[in-house]
Structure formats: C-alpha cells, structure tokens
C-alpha cells in the first residue's frame, strides 16, 4: 500500500524521522517497504502489508500505529479510539440484509442539503500523493476515509432511489442470474447469484456490486443534494471470489478481501460524516444500522515464561508491559500472567503465540540470541532411498555420466494439470527417456567445446503413471539405447567412495554463441614434446581459443604425428570462419618455423 509520510505524521505527536529510517523501522519490526518515492516535500512509501494485518494496516492510521509502537512516538489522535455514535436514528432509510453471513453489518446515513463540488486543496493533494484522482468532494471524502482508516465507504444520490411513502429501503441481496449492472466507470457486468449487490429495495434496481464497485444508476453528480451514505462489512472470501470472477479489483475489494471488523464501520461513518459536513455542508437526518451479531470481545492470556520459552530470551515483565503499552493493547497483569483485551480491529490476534510475535517484533528480532541446538538425543534415521540415489549418482558420475534435471511437464502423459500459464506442456511426464533424448540432442553439437568424446547423461526423477508416482533413473549415451528403470529396481553396482563435495567455487556464465572447431595434425621429430607444441598453439591462437586437446598420436619412421583439436568461441558474438582461419594460419606458420615440423 502507498503510504504518505506527511499523512502519517498527522496522527503523531512528534516529528517522524526521515523516510529511510521509517522504512527501516517498518522493515525490521512490521512490514517490508518495497519502494520509497520522493514527492515534493513528502515521501511515499510502498509498504507490503502482510495478509494477517490487512484488517488494520491497509490504512495510514494502521501504519501510524505501528510506527508509534516501534519508534515510541505517542499517537496524537486515534480515530478508532474516539467515541463514535450512530445517533439520531431515522426510519426514513431502512435496511434489509438477506444473508447476514455475507454482510455482517450495514450502516446507512441519510444526509440532506449537501453541495457537491471540487474538493478543498488539502484533500485532493492527500489523495494525489498516493496516486488517487480527485473526483468531487463527496467521493473524495469516502476515499480519504478509506485510505485513512481502512474502511471502504460509498455514497448514493438519494433522489435517484425510489421513496415509498417518503421512505427509502436499502436491500442487500444476491444478484439475480444474468442480472446486468452498469458500474460507475460505465462498464457493464453480467452477474451471477454468487455476487452480492446493493439494491433499491423499493424497485429492486441494483445500485452497486457490494464492496467492489458502485453503480452508475445512483451516482453522485454535481446536481446531487441528498445522500445515502454506506459503511458496511462484507464477507471477505465471498467477495474475493466475486472480484476474481468479474476480474474487477478495487481498493475497496482489496480491503474487504482481507476481512474487516464490523466495529470499524462506525468509526468510518463518523469520520465520513464529519468530513462531508466540513467540505460539502448538509445536515444529518439520521442513521440506520443492521448488525445482528456483534463481534465478540477477545481476551488472550500469555505469561512472561511462555514468551521466553518460545523465543529463547530472558525478557522481564517490564519489557512485556512496555511492548503492550506501545502497541496500545490493553492488559491486566496478575502473577506474571498477562490478560490482553484485543482491540476490535486486531483480528490477527487470537492465540498466545500471536502476542509472543508482537513482543518479538517490537523489541526486535536482533534481541533474540543465537543458540546452538542441544545434542540430539536419538540417532538420526538413515533414509534408504536417498542413500541409494546417492550411490547411483556416485557410480554414474564415476563412469562419465553427467546429471541433468529435465522438466516434468510434457506434451503427452497420463495425467494433466489444469490452467497452466502459457498452456504449453500440461501433462506430467510418464518417462524420463524423452527428456533425456532432448537433452542429449541439445548437447551433441557442444561435444568439442565440452571436451568429451561422447555425451553421457543421467537423470533421477519422478514420473507419473495413471495411479502412481515413482522415481525413475534414466541414462543415455550417444549411439546407445536409453536405459530407464524404477529406482526400486535399479541395482547399485559397487558402493564407490564418496565424491569430493564441490570442485567448483564459482560458475562462469557460458557464451550463448556457437563455437568453431578446427583440427591441426603435424609430423614432428621424435624428441619434440607435445607440451611444447601445445604451448606454441596457445600462444598464437589468441583469446578466442577456449579448448585445446591432443586427440591422436602415432609413430611413422623417425617421426611422430600429433593431432590437436582446437575450439574457438567468443563471449560476445558469432565467430566467422575467416577469423578462425587467420588464427589457424598463424599457428601453422609458427609451428613450421621449427626444424622438422610438418603440417599434415
């Protein structure tokens, strides 16, 4: 979520440190900060709020609360700790929620006599700073409160609804099958009955897709004077499925998906009304609230001993007290036991371990000591399967086979995955042979570069038949049949000594360009050393020579013939025959300068 430093500052009593320090504080005590962007005097932090804190931290208030606890800066005001009321009640707007498990609370407020117009500068600036367009004062007020405290809100133009004997009715119901809905951005959606809509209860017209997007029908425009404001709590999982099915995600849906406390709606409505009155005028006629099952109050008990036993620390009561106070978690202490009353918005806190995490992250994970595991009291078990694959690996490697891992996805097989991105190769392999064959073909033209006479590969991997998953071992060698057998049937020839663990310290990226191979054979006097010849070749071949090997030698009379294979390769380009020929000529002429040297 995009967080404005200046916006957060509004909640706090003392100045925040610079953006980098804020970012560090969040990273090591709460959430990762993915990016910091300077915007005029402000800094915009992209904070990656973890899914367990979507209930309360997808808001500037939530981040301010975190920073207050981490940096020990007291909150100046907390909009969730003020007293909020839904008085006076009105019967001019009634609410009917058909399934309260899909909408646990719906608050409506009837406001008359507003003046819709542009937002004041401070408001449009706030929204702009986090990348939100200013639309008009009413819509902006709803958006501001959402980014401020995390509760999505909506405003309907009351006069576009039907009043039955002067009374409005808001209906929260499932959409009818194939019901059409034109959203605020003038896109038409065809709904199914798994989608919740807000409708005008007096004529059944759909007014919005619940918690996701408002409809165009009752939109607030410049002529609007009377409003019905909505602060509601929709079921997260259901809403997420709808948003996905409709491919329609909004800042509102993202928040509902994370599950919000129904208590939050009251504070949001309060903030909404206050702001609307301030920037658009109007009079509150009254509220209507449907909240059949109030959220239960939670208490969690944790002891200092428990905290230390999990973290491996030696914290004292005072440090626990300090953490709970910083986090504004009300508690009482009795005989080393802390009973914490969980604030309504902290839906993430339900077991003692949740509180232990709060303590750990606020005091800082750097305070956790590094301790070696005690000696294990039992004997580790031997994994026979793994032992066998390790022996097979040793055996094959010692016989010149190199190990490959090929993809388990193929064009054919007996079982298939759904929905594979790209759609290519959706089947699970039913053999290793085909993958090995492809790998062999891929490597064959690199033999000289690799300096091997024959490509030899093996793979130990999983294959799937219709009802089984088995581990197979396959070997392939140029010019021979592929061998493939199940690990179970595989025979381990001899238990060879363990291979040295790693020869390689660093990997060198290889050239993606083709190599050129040339042979040179020459007769030399019997006393000429092949090492000397190699040296001359290396000296004159230039930097592009990447491999040189003696591959043939025979005696003829008083002379001896040596044949060398040279491989040329560039890291930057495809080599031409001409440049390799030039190098070869240079080598030939240098070699024939020696007495008795003769190129064959």
């Amino acid at each position: 979520m995009k967080i404005s430093r200046e916006w957060v500052q509004e909640f706090l009593n003392h100045p925040l440190p610079n953006a980098e320090k804020i970012s560090n504080a969040l990273t090591f005590h709460a959430f990762e900060v993915e990016n910091i962007e300077k915007k005029g005097k402000d800094d915009i932090l992209d904070v990656k709020v973890t899914p367990n804190r979507g209930h309360d931290c997808l808001s500037h208030r939530g981040i301010a609360k975190e920073l207050s606890a981490i940096l020990k800066i007291p909150m100046k005001n907390d909009p969730l700790r003020v007293s909020a009321s839904l008085e006076p009640k009105t019967d001019l707007v009634s609410i009917k929620v058909e399934e309260s498990n899909l909408c646990s609370r719906y608050i409506a407020c009837y406001v008359q006599g507003v003046k819709v117009g542009p937002s004041p500068e401070w408001l449009s600036k706030r929204l702009l700073s986090i990348g939100q367009k200013s639309i008009n004062n009413i819509v902006d007020a709803a958006n501001f409160v959402m980014f401020d405290i995390g509760q999505p809100l909506h405003a309907f133009d009351a006069d576009k609804l039907v009043a039955h004997k002067g009374k409005y009715n808001i209906l929260v119901r499932r959409a009818h099958e194939r019901e059409k809905m034109l959203t605020l951005d003038n896109k038409e959606y065809i709904l199914t009955n798994s989608t919740m809509v807000i409708a005008d209860g007096n004529n059944d017209t759909p007014l919005g897709i619940a918690g996701i997007k408002g409809g165009s029908y009752a939109r607030v425009d410049s002529a609007t004077t009377n409003l019905i404001l909505e602060a509601a709590t929709f079921n997260g999982p259901s809403l997420r499925r709808t948003a996905q099915a409709l491919k329609l995600q909004s800042d509102a849906s993202k928040r509902f998906e994370q599950v919000l406390s129904p208590e939050l709606a009251v504070y949001a409505m309060q903030a909404f009304i206050t702001l609307v009155k301030e920037i658009a005028g109007g009079q509150v006629v009254g509220f209507s609230d449907t909240y059949p099952t109030p959220q239960e109050k939670k208490e969690i008990i944790v002891s200092v001993n428990q905290v230390n036993a999990v973290l491996g620390t030696k914290l004292r009561d005072s440090e626990i007290i300090d953490t709970f106070e910083c986090l504004d978690l009300p508690f009482r202490e009795e005989d080393g036991l802390f009973t914490v009353s969980v604030p309504f918005e902290r839906l993430d806190l339900s077991i003692p371990e949740d509180l232990i995490e709060e303590v750990a992250r606020i005091i800082g994970y750097d305070k956790i000591p590094t301790v070696e595991l005690p000696l294990f009291s039992k004997k580790p078990e031997i994994n026979e399967n793994f032992q066998k694959t390790e022996s097979l690996r040793n055996d094959l490697v010692s016989k010149g086979y190199s190990e490959v891992y090929t993809s388990v996805f193929r064009n054919k097989g007996e079982r298939e995955v759904l929905n594979k991105i790209g759609g290519d190769k959706p089947f699970l392999r039913d053999n290793l042979a085909l993958g090995l064959k492809e790998a062999l073909e891929k490597n064959i033209h690199n033999k000289d570069l690799l300096g091997v006479e024959k490509i030899k590969l093996f793979e130990i991997g999983t294959i799937w038949s219709r009802d089984n998953e088995t581990i197979h071992i396959g070997t392939i060698r140029e010019g021979e049949e592929i061998r493939e057998t199940s690990l179970e049937e595989a025979r381990v020839d001899v238990e060879r000594e363990n291979l040295p663990l790693f020869k390689t310290l660093h990997y060198q990226p290889f050239s993606r360009y083709p190599a050129i191979t040339r042979d040179i054979a020459l007769f030399v006097p019997r006393d000429a050393s092949p090492d000397e010849i190699e040296k001359v070749i290396r000296e004159h071949a230039g930097k592009l020579l990447v491999r040189l090997r003696l591959f043939d030698k025979f005696k003829k009379g008083d002379k001896i013939s040596y044949a060398f294979r040279l491989v040329f390769l560039s890291q930057e380009r495809t080599l031409t025959d001409e440049e390799v020929n030039t190098a070869m000529q240079k080598i030939s002429s240098k070699l024939t300068e020696n007495k008795g040297f003769e190129i064959r």
């Binding site: 959430f31 990762e32 367990n52 999982p237 036993a309 999990v310 973290l311 491996g312 620390t313 371990e353 949740d354 995490e357 750990a360 992250r361 994970y365 956790i368 000591p369 590094t370 301790v371 595991l373 294990f376 009291s377 039992k378 580790p380 031997i382 994994n383 399967n385 793994f386 490697v397 016989k399 010149g400 086979y401 190199s402 190990e403 490959v404 891992y405 993809s407 388990v408 996805f409 079982r415 298939e416 995955v417 759904l418 929905n419 594979k420 991105i421 891929k442 490597n443 690799l450 006479e453 590969l457 999983t462 998953e469 020869k503 660093h506 990997y507 060198q508 290889f510 090997r549 030698k553």
Partner: protein, 246 residues
Amino acid sequence: MRKDETRGHLHPISSLIREANLIFLQMGFTLVEGPLLESEWYNFDALNVPKDHPARDMQDTFYLKNEPGYVLRTHTSGLQIRYMTEQVKKGIMPPYRIIAPGKCFRNEATDMTHEAEFFQIEGLAVGEDITLAHLKGTFEKFFSEIFKGDVEVSFRPSFFPFTEPSIEVDMRLTGINVTEKLRGKWIEVGGAGMIHPQVLENSGLDSKKYQGWAFGPGLDRLAMLKWGIDDVRLMHSGDLRFINQF
C-alpha cells in the same frame, strides 16, 4: 586419450542437497522425502492455510485434471505434517529433527529468477524446549558451512499461516572465501518461524507440551548465491555447458 573415461558431473542442486545433508546430519537431522503430487490436506489444510486463502488460487497452484483434492506441491512444508503424523502413529514422540529437500511447483511464467519447477529445503526441529534462538544458531551453522565464511543471521517479521511468529531470514557473510559480490551484504535467504500450534495439533501432537520451528529456503536461490549462477532456468536446461562446471 580416451576422454570417455573422465568423470561426469553432479547437478549443482544435487551437490547442494548432498552437502546440506552432511551438515544437518551432524546436528541430528534425518533426511525425508515425499510425493510431488500432494493432497490438499498436507499441502494446505493441515498447514493452517484456509480454504479461501489466495495461495490456493488456480493462478498460483497446479491442480490436476479430474483429480480433485490434489495439487503439485507448492512447498516442502507438507512434509512436516507427513513426518510428524507418521511418527505419532508409530508411537514415536519428539524430539524430531528432519530436513526435506525437494522439487516444488508454482504456476507462473518463467524468467531469469522465476521457475515453475523449483527446489526447497524444509527443516524442522520439534521438542519440549526448541526455541527461536536455536533457529538462529542452526542457520548460522548451515550458512557458514555452505558459503565457507563467517555469517551473521538476522530475522525480520513476516507472515505464513503455518508459523507463529513468522520470520524472513537474512544473512551477511564475511571472510576471505566469500565471493566479493556477497561479502558484507545482507542477503535474503527465505522464510521460517515457530511452528503454529494448530499445525502440531493437526499432526497429532500436544502443542502445550511440544514446540519447535520450521524453515523453507529455496535451494535454487542458495545455489545461485553460492556459485554466482545468473539464471534459474539453467537448472532445468540439461545444458552441460552449465552442469559440467560443477
């Protein structure tokens, strides 16, 4: 001159698993394996991942055609449950120490740092007195041996449904054997945490009596860091220009 007789090469992931196994064996850990095609119970439910969790979405997870309830495992964490459940059934109670290296899957397009097929190494230690402090100690030992240097381990807060507290692990290497590219820098290595009590209960253990931690860093990433490999796709390339360097 029969070059044919020269030795072949081990895949770097196999090498890394071999070395990890030796390091953890000294600390009493047993290596365990399990199926790649896994039930949703082991892969999600038993790990406290709710039915409606975004991780279960089709765009992240490979589901099987006509085989409801099964997925290509998205992590090695299901092996925690498999192992613990099995032990409890056999009447063997903690302490437990296991590592579980192996292939995992995620339904995503591949690029230099992402692969639909990747490797993870799960680790788990459960007992009556296994603490988060022991996790720091264990990581320190593992990384210092794998990277042949001195290592500092640092934790950051994170979230996983199957651990509480959950952490992200960073390390900083120093010493002459450490490549210059890595030396002195904080590097992210993977997630871990104290096993969620519900996960212990789901495996048949009394979470009031036993506690422990689990971790699950990516092996591809560790291999890439260790050897300076620049492209994760090389792991499944079958290209000996790559393999034969190891």
